[in-house]
Amino acid sequence: MLRRRLAPYLLVLPGGLWLLLFFVVPMVTMLSLSLQQGDVVTGYVFTGHWQTYVDAVVNYRTQLVRSLIYGGITTVVLIVLAFPVAYWIAFYGGRRKATYLFLLLLPFFVSFVLRTISWRQILTDEGILLGPLKDAGLLHQEFHVLGTPVAVIGGLVYNFLPFMVLPVYVALERIDPRVVEAARDLYADPATTFRKVIFPLALPGVFAGVLMTFVPASSDYVNSAVLGSSSTTMIGQVIQSQYLTSSNYPTASALSFTLMAVLLIGVFAYARALGTEDVMKVAAR
């Protein structure tokens, strides 16, 4: 009897321990770090110094806001780009659906950083793209793409594309074709069918896609580091630099927590706006 009552707990134990060790412990450590004071030579000591949060946010508010804006733009561009792709594969892919999806994922078998660096090679000021255009006199000598927000957001869109296409595709793929036929039978033109039937049914996929792209895109630091400049610095870079250049662990941890809080609030607000029912649907998948 006792054994039967304990069984579910025993089953959840490995997962629970895993979470405890690799999620709870690091989180508590980081929270503690953010409230410590000192320097890297003499060591950091816990003092419960909340002021670090205030200072960090005041000093790096530009980068924080910029990251959310870049993340937001990236997400919107991704929806616009990914929806037609997913739509086409889902409805017109026929027997080759799997091939198309594979082709979509193919570039992503190469390392994330390597792909981003190769964009740097392509877009560099006198590289294979801009060099000939400049020589032909079509562009100013000073014209450049690297180091601008366009390059950074472009890199983010490129790197996160599959994370939007796949969930949207899954949602579209599940739509019962009879529902679409019914709309036509009821004299809805294609635009209305899309607006009133297909798009609402695909929303859970879009929601999942937004979660999977907005959060990592906003906290990304590779794209901006490789493709950007000092005027495109994102909050992830600041955190990385505070940890790995300045050894300023409290500021880095405080910024990490702030970013996490902002993103969580954003995601919940978004879920509330879209209706919790859809969130449940996504969660149930």
């Binding site: 030579v41 003499t42 060591g43 790096y60 300045s246």
Partner: protein, 417 residues
């Protein structure tokens, strides 16, 4: 009238006061545990600032029982040795010690941050010898007790051949923890194909004509130094007030869109790719880039002044092969080896006698090679004359961690956009 019934006080208390249920108890003990956990997670440091002077027997204590292992891992910066590593090959031939040479250091801040946790835990960082600049992090290395005190009894070539000026440098008096690898200057490099007029002044880095094509260093000391010198301030003697003014000057350069980016060692690639036309630069890099890639970049020490720094050999306390490292250090102080290195890297040579050796090497060659070597021997970038030093400023050293943090706090936000 009947009296209103007064309820039992115990009942009232029960209705109005919260009772501590099991959940609350859990919650409270959870909070207490969290508090305890938070306070227990301190990050240990290793040392105390100002503890630079080691105990008299520290050298003997560290080196006691150390034996040569026949191998050595050497961490250095890029563009600091001929890619064929001729000096290391000679070393291996002479001593039988195999050297694994890695160009892993790109900037001081990241390097210190990378090895600090391992050194603080007393672990091997995988390197027995590293080349570190006399910047903020040099003091952090020393104060943390991360550097092995050098046994000068085993450095006879150094004692005989090193320039006397290098034996009394302010950042490590008496060379307790370090001896120089080479010195160098920070000045301006530019591409004469893109910029037709000669560059002579720091103000050229602020010229709107080069909008979006100017590079600066992301190292806060390098960056701050140039900001200060542009305002006519000697960085070595600067005050927090000067730092703020310099930061404002640098912000102007940034908000005007003149800055392309702030770079670590990668500035030289950016110059090569045409990403920047004019940039803060280290003296020898441009020379090596021109030799290896056939470019024709120019390097100048601006009229307002440049800075001079020293990159130093240092042995981490956790090194597995410190004795082999010490042998390599001394090997580089042989006149022929020092000359051979300077001929390729074109940085300031700490061995004055190398100059005659380079002239001798030149005499043995003909044509272009001869002219190139003669140019190295006469170069003020390799063997600066006293008049050249007059235009060069030293880094500011920070007395306390608080002072250094104030400095970082002023210049870091510029680099981090």
């Amino acid at each position: 009238m009947s009296q209103p019934r007064i309820p039992d006080p115990a009942l009232l208390r029960g209705l109005t006061q919260r009772r501590l249920g099991r959940r609350d108890a859990l919650r409270i003990s959870g909070l207490a545990a969290l508090g305890g956990a938070l306070a227990a997670c301190g990050v240990k440091g290793k040392g105390s600032p100002g503890a630079s002077a080691p105990a008299a027997d520290a050298v003997a204590k560290f080196w006691a029982g150390k034996t040569s292992t026949g191998k050595l891992n050497f961490a250095n910066w890029p563009l600091y040795m001929d890619p064929a590593h001729p000096e290391l090959k000679k070393f291996t031939a002479a001593t039988g010690i195999e050297v694994d040479y890695q160009e892993v250091i790109q900037e001081m801040g990241p390097w210190f941050a990378k090895v600090q946790p391992q050194l603080a835990a007393g672990q091997d960082i995988g390197f027995d010898l590293m080349v570190i600049t006399n910047s903020i992090q040099f003091k952090q290395f020393v104060d943390s007790g991360f550097l092995a005190p050098l046994d000068h009894g085993k450095l006879p070539n150094y004692a005989a051949n090193a320039d006397a000026a290098y034996k009394k440098e302010a950042f490590d008096p008496g060379n307790v923890y370090s001896v120089p690898w080479t010195s160098g200057m920070t000045g301006i490099a530019y591409d004469p194909k893109k910029i037709t007029r000669p560059i002579t002044r720091l103000a050229d880095l602020w010229d709107p004509a080069f909008k979006g094509k100017v590079g600066m260093f992301s190292d806060t000391q390098e960056l701050g130094n140039f900001g200060m010198m542009a305002l006519g301030v000697n960085p070595e003697k600067s005050t927090p007030d000067d730092w703020k003014k310099a930061a404002a000057k640098l912000k102007e350069q940034k908000s005007g869109g003149i800055i392309r980016n702030y770079y670590d060692q990668s500035y030289i690639d950016a110059l090569g790719k045409g990403e920047v036309w004019i940039t803060q630069a280290w003296s020898g890099d441009v020379f090596q880039k021109n030799v290896s890639d056939g470019t024709d970049f120019k390097f100048v020490i601006p009229e307002e002044g440049g800075t001079i720094w020293t990159d130093n050999f240092a042995i981490p306390v956790t090194a597995k092969n410190p004795l082999d490292a010490l042998k390599l250090i001394d090997f580089f102080y042989q006149v022929e080896i020092a000359a051979s290195l300077a001929e390729y890297i074109n940085y300031v040579c700490p061995v004055p006698a190398a100059r005659d050796q380079i002239r001798k090497d030149a005499a043995a060659k003909t044509g272009k090679d001869k002219a190139a070597l003669e140019a190295v021997a006469d170069s003020p970038l390799v063997f600066p004359a006293p008049a050249d030093y007059a235009r060069l400023h030293y880094y500011r050293s920070f007395a306390t961690a608080a002072e250094q943090q104030e400095y970082q706090g002023i210049f870091e936000p510029i680099v981090l956009g």
